[in-house]
């Protein structure tokens, strides 16, 4: 039984068929990549799985539970964390507050606790702070804990976003182009971060990536998406050298990485 099981998922925006007949099965500890040219519908697939959009057809099962119809915060608290291509950090919040925020669903003191500063709230807030600091150390951003996130260097912002997703304690992590806009050094560091997180928590990771180098380093299994349909799937080398993929994704040229 796979952890995340998507069967025959389709979605259209008005008349535009964004995704059609998409299937995915992700086992615990597996890293699967999703590649495809711009506008192929990769991020739409993420949004469909996490519940931002509702698929017009098909089902998404996570840990034996149906996800279609659930709201994004519900899927996330079930253990399906994601990151965003454009990061989506909160401008006016510090790094520590970012990490604590992702523990929202785990807090049990409720609104009355928040209003009246009960001992339970103080205890939970303290525990959450300790846990958040642990995660910040793990992702090597603990020295920025009290700084506003907009003041951080780009690579650190990316790591904060990763830490924010990881503190949910997810079973499946969806990464939307984690290395976009990075220098080769930063990219290698990011690959290490993802690999470490994967090994430590036995995470299943579903990764959108444009850089074939990253896909090659991380993934055991790759899907190539073109115009909302999976064209080819298999090992990275297979997919990358498949003539259809080369034609659709890179045009007539040789693959370069």
């Amino acid at each position: 039984m796979p952890l995340l099981h998507v069967t025959d998922m389709s979605h259209n925006f008005g008349g535009l068929q964004a995704v059609s007949g998409y299937n995915l099965s992700l086992d615990p500890g597996q890293i699967t990549g999703l590649i495809g040219p711009n506008g192929a519908g990769k991020t739409t697939i993420f949004n469909l799985i996490t519940g931002i959009y509702r698929p017009t057809q098909g089902s998404v099962e996570f840990d034996g539970e149906e996800l279609v119809g659930k709201k994004p915060n519900e899927t996330a608290s079930m253990g399906l964390a994601r990151t965003f291509q454009e990061m989506k950090l909160w401008r006016h919040m510090t790094v520590l507050e970012h990490i604590k925020m992702a523990r929202y669903s785990k807090l049990s003191y409720g609104l009355w606790g928040a209003f009246l500063d009960t001992p339970k709230r103080r205890l939970e807030e303290r525990q959450t702070t300790d846990l958040a600091m642990e995660y910040l150390k793990m992702f090597a951003v603990d020295q920025f804990a009290d700084q506003l996130v907009v003041n951080l260097p780009y690579g650190a912002q990316r790591r904060v976003e990763m830490a924010r997703a990881m503190v949910i304690e997810p079973k499946v992590l969806l990464l939307d182009e984690p290395t976009v806009g990075m220098t080769p050094d930063e990219m290698m560091a990011m690959i290490e971060v993802v690999r470490k997180a994967h090994e430590r928590f036995n995470l299943a990771i579903f990764l959108i990536e444009h850089r074939l180098r990253v896909v090659h380093e991380l993934c055991q299994h790759v899907q190539a998406l073109v115009f909302g349909q999976v064209l080819v799937e298999g090992t990275p080398t297979e997919v990358q050298n498949h003539p259809k993929v080369i034609e659709a994704y890179i045009g007539q040229q040789e693959v370069e990485f």
Partner: protein, 447 residues
Amino acid sequence: MDETLAPKQTGGIFYRVGLFFKPVPLLGYLIGFLVCVLWEQLAGEGLSSLLGLPKMPILFGLLTIFKVLAGIVNFLIKGDAFHWARLVEIPMALVYLTVIYLVPLALVARAAVKPANAMARYLQKFPLIITALVQLGLMYAVLHVWAEVSDYRLIFLKLTLIAVLFTLSLNIINGYMGEFSCSHPGFMAIGAYMSSLFTVGLFASDKVLGDAVFNFSAAYLTFPLALIFGGLMASLCALIIAIPSFKTRGDYLAIISLAFLFIVKSFFENMQALGGSRGISGQPDWATLPVIFITMAFGIWTINNFVTSTMGKALNAVRDDESAAEAMTVDTRKTKMAAFLFGAFWAGVSGGLLAHVLRYVNPAMFSVQKLAEVLAMVYFGGLNSVYGSIVGAVSISLLGEALRPLEIFKWIVIPLLLILVMIYRPTGLIAFKEFNARQVFGPKEVD
């Protein structure tokens, strides 16, 4: 280049004054103010007649100064008679301010640095609640003595304290959650009417609401219940705004909430059972200064607790990026609902206090002008900040009163000031600053 030059600059006069007062803790200022207000009670009358002022300056001399200025303006525009000898009142008012307030405050606060810090440090050993209660008690004593001098001061102070609570409750929605809600005077109206219904209907005889149902001398003890009832009814009505806010943001929510304000206002205007446009009067005089002060302090405490908790920080997350908040397990619907209901609750409570201070309530009090006033307080003081709301509410109230002699020009000066603030500090004077009670009440470490 700036960085290398920076340490050499000794700074201007403000910097030096700031440095001089840096080690003074809140406790020091409170003691200073207490000395000032006692000194004023002793010497205020004598000094003002010595200085030739017509009567004792009520609002730190501001009112006196602007009365003279208003005389000049009227002379220039309408040609009204103006006695030039009155010009002397301006420097005299300033002398009064200096002698009664500034000099004693500066001297006592600076001289009391050591004992005040020692005492603050001693108080810090106890739980925060004790430190807070001692200093709030002292603050109340200062306000009480200050307000004893005249009834005008008392009512000004009461209205200002209510404005602080009202502004902060709007700051939850407009500042912390970043929506633009215009419905707040409507919530205040509901709170004012419902608590009046409770007190006047049950404990007072009135033309509109009939004879008193209960008659016992300790009826004022039910006043908290009346306030809570008003607040709860306001939060119930806030659902009408909270539910559309799940789907709408920005301009559209502003329009919906403005519509809500008009609906509430015309509801009360046409509701003959509640007095129609004449409203309800004859509220018992239960909103005394201590009641208002305690309610305000408790309100600020709960609001500050809320916005500093992770539950409350979710408001900021929703404001800065709603989809990211949702992806990070934040229940955005619950968050928005909590913000609206909680903000409306405190708006309702402040409405209840307002009705019992003025001892009448009518729909015209909760018009768009009230909205403009509270929005000015929120945006002038600073978004996302408890300090900001306090500063905004106090300074706009003070300015509004001080400029009253200028009549129509008041509405040129205040908006002009707001424009200047918006140009130089777009988020308000003290925005995005967390209110840390331990730090506020604690000693100042001298380095």
